[in-house]
Symmetry: C2
DNA sequence: CGTACAGTTGATGATCATCAATCCCTGTGG
DNA sequence: CCACAGGGATTGATGATCATCAACTGTACG
């Protein structure tokens, strides 16, 4: 279904030679701008790649399940995953989507907290905890970069709860689209946003019903802010109003 | 920088007992149980205390404001703070409450993300970023403990968005009370829960209106699950149903 | 004892969840 | 190439829940 279409998202990434794995975040120390930057040096990437294994996952693959024994973390080279938990009520809450240059697999007392499943085909670097701690000892600077990245993920989690805290469905959807926009092209200014995940996933992420997402999409279109090009792409038509809505919080 | 008026240096008897500062979290590596544990060794605490300054804040003091220059992190020895952001709509969203043995002050590009204000009088250890990085180099094990703590805070942030994701006000309130219960006595089994913050703060944390919190409290009482003893204490009357409600998610 | 603020209670309207029916896209097989 | 099946997505109708506005009560503190 989305297999071929959604793998190639905007942003001609790749160039998988020696520049991986990448780890991107906004550092907490003062930097030039407020944009995310690559945290790892070439030397650090070389160190990392020696401790890691490259893994390939087809779309919709479970990478690991919540509450199972955890032994490694993952850095995405290419693709998108969702990190979620199925609640007692039968509802599913997606805690986060992770993209290229993101880190996931943080555990609690030796067990994964969330289930992680690929949304698109994914290429990732898997690093065992043993290798990671050994790496931290050998190259302490890398540990600081990981700390930096985790803080970044923490900020994103806080942002997520601000999204969910909104009462209006269209506002929540707009905020998600803005996230996806940043992912699509970290620097470019294209009007097109890739939406690799299903409506159902979006609903689980936004804390809405599937129908509410559908209606919110419709309303965004009717108001002339965006245009849906198929199910996995959105085009911004009125950036002004779109940004205002997404920022209103 | 820090707001000058709101900060008062230690006026009383700080006299650290030697067991401070403490830093508590559930490690991500496998441990004996799933309860939070003290992360720092005695030696590490001694190192830390040498790089830190003890600060005392009266209740309702702003420790720092969002978007101001950040230069240090804080470890709470005693007291409660709230970490929040005021949104464009005029609403306030509390991202987290922090308690004794918690860490706060993580920044983004050299600026604090949230405003932090004390709820009760607070005694805290302030550690400048400079001292912290220097400390990490001198004692690499401490960096791992900080990483561990940040991961812990990340999990709590994810849990927060699960709370907010609930649709029913009573359920959200119950989940907050359960958090406060864990804080009250990490090991004890008392029926009483301390609720140091105001209804308004609770509302901002749960993503509800102040009135909704009030009505939810009333309903919890009418259903016989809890009893409110004054405004800052709750007594569990029917733990069974209370846990069920809080866990339903 | 009075003021100010925190909290409660009530009435009304807006928004979303839910149930149900239909549409549409995609992949499959004739 | 087309028909069909199945899951994803859309649309519609109804009810439940919370926000909001407003009035009131309780409590802390001088």
């Amino acid at each position: 279904m989305m297999s071929t279409q959604s793998i190639r998202r905007g942003g001609g990434t790749a160039a998988p030679t020696g520049r991986e794995p990448e780890l991107m975040a906004i550092p907490f120390l003062k930097t030039a701008g407020t944009e995310p930057v690559e945290l790892l040096s070439d030397a650090q990437r070389q160190q990392l790649v020696r401790s890691a294994a490259v893994r390939h996952f087809p779309a919709r693959t479970i990478v690991y399940r919540a509450d199972t024994a955890a032994d490694s973390v993952f850095v995405i080279a290419e693709g998108v995953v969702k990190s979620y938990r199925d609640l007692a009520s039968g509802r599913r809450r997606i805690a986060a989507f992770f993209f290229a240059r993101d880190l996931f697999g943080l555990a609690e007392a030796g067990h994964y907290v969330n289930t992680v499943q690929t949304v698109t085909p994914v290429r990732a670097y898997e690093i065992s905890f043993d290798a990671l701690t050994e790496l931290f000892q050998r190259e302490p600077a890398i540990e600081m970069q990981f700390l930096c990245k985790v803080v970044h993920v923490l900020r994103e989690a806080q942002h997520h709860s601000i999204i969910i805290g909104r009462r209006d469905a269209v506002g929540r959807l707009a905020m998600l689209l803005r996230l996806l926009q940043k992912q699509s092209l970290p620097r470019g200014r294209s009007r097109d946003i890739a939406v690799p995940m299903s409506r159902s996933d979006i609903a689980s992420y936004l804390g809405l019903s599937l129908e509410a997402v559908s209606r919110a999409s419709r309303r965004l279109e009717l108001q002339g802010m965006v245009e849906f090009v198929g199910r996995h792409q959105v085009r911004i038509l009125d950036r002004q109003r779109f940004e205002t809505l997404a920022a209103a919080a």
